[in-house]
Amino acid sequence: MSNLAGLKCKECGRAFDPGAVSVCDYCFGPLEADYNYQRASKLATRKKIKKGTPDIWRYMELLPLEGTRPVDLSPGFTPLLKADNLGARLGIKNLYIKDETVNPTHSVKDRMVAVAVSRAVELGFGVVACASTGNLAHSLAAHAARAGLKSVIFVPHDAEPAQLAAINIYEPALIAVKGGTQRINALCNEAMARERWAFVNINLRPYYAEGAKTIAFEIAEQLGWTAPDHIVAPIASGSTLTAIRKGMTELTAVEILKSQETKLHGAQAEGCAPVAAAFRKKSELIQPAAPATLAKSLSIGNPADGVYALRAARDSGGAIAAVSDNEIIEGMKTLAREEGIFAEPAGGAVVAALKQLASARAFKAGETVVAVISGGGLKAPEALSGRLKPPRVIEPKLSELESFLAQLRRAENVPGAVDM
């Protein structure tokens, strides 16, 4: 028996049956999954969770599924790495990285898609769909393949080639749409009205969003069931930060944590920072932006959950940073150099935001800070084009190698042999 009570409007609180619906038809507020927390508190215990599988399904008591076997590529339970090198560089003693690059399709989207596609199966859909610049599409194509469902995926006609290959290998119906985001939005809405498809981030959005809250559950569990003082995550549609807030709140609702006062911080690219702008202006209004940043995974000009991400940061005492493309690239390089993690530009934005927040003394000495690195860099290599030192090309001769090594020693001022 599931703990899912139904769906509830985030704005007016009206209750809805847990079907393929995402908007309150009274006030147009978004719907979210609601649970019988009293019942869940008896079932979602630390002991039971510890015995669960090492993935998001260990938190099944707080996921919006009704009992069928989930569509499973085993997402989640990603490493929480103590980042001492990066921490020393940024002046943050207790810094951790939640490394989402190791998910099945190398991004945080796997958590959300796994839940949404599982729910699509429960609701009897035969076709799943999405519109995406990359990570969501990649994850959906993989999960649909695993579930034996057909998938229809809309991508912008100028999507990055590496992302397209990662999507296409699963053989979805892949449709590259000409025109900007507005046109794709309109086309998808018309298609959804006509076809019986489970659009995972539209009509299944209440379930899709729930997958991301498992990040909060894992962070708390991996810290020995304590809430960190700060979590820093990227903001694109805003759903991840919003879900992390819900996850932290639910841990107290089911009495796994007695209390939590985690400050939630967001990172956006300056070239697409509608939520950061509203935060700075102390406004509740998210003014749409025309994206102009190399961080394609952050290029959401009219974020669906922008206002909720804004509230998550503001109400928790956090902040939202906007960082430049140069800072993003520098953040990617720093993360790779200091911690051995190759992140997509959104990860670089989080590192740059950490730096900005640390400079502004947002973190007190000894506080625990967790940075969510949302996806792997191999999917967006174009962002680094011309930004890295090219390899030195030599003839296969020892003399040329020695000459190169000598230059390296001089450049790095390292006496003796370079340990390669």
Binding site: T133, N135, L136, N201, I202, A236, L285, P288, S297, S299
Partner: protein
């Protein structure tokens, strides 16, 4: 009839403008306000705009943006990362 769900926001100086009245009388549209907030500095409303055609609704949107209001689809971008 065509329906569009929109988020319309504006600065406080625009709240004196009878925009709903004009949408009805001059653009022959039927705006249905579902949620709204007006403060000393800004105002917004979530509306459903009903009209005879897409072009018809677009005229109403152009009127609002011409006044300096920001009009965006209520649900946000469908395209995600």
């Amino acid at each position: 009839m065509i329906r569009r769900r929109l988020h319309v926001s504006m600065s406080a100086d625009l709240v004196k403008e009878p925009i709903l009245y004009r949408l009805v009388k001059e653009y022959d549209l039927s705006p249905n306000v579902r949620r709204a907030d007006v403060s000393a500095t800004e105002a917004w409303m979530a509306i459903e705009l009903q009209g005879g055609s897409e072009a018809h609704i677009q005229e109403g949107i152009d009127y609002l943006t011409g006044l300096g209001a920001t009009v965006k689809p209520l649900q946000g971008d469908v395209v995600e990362s």
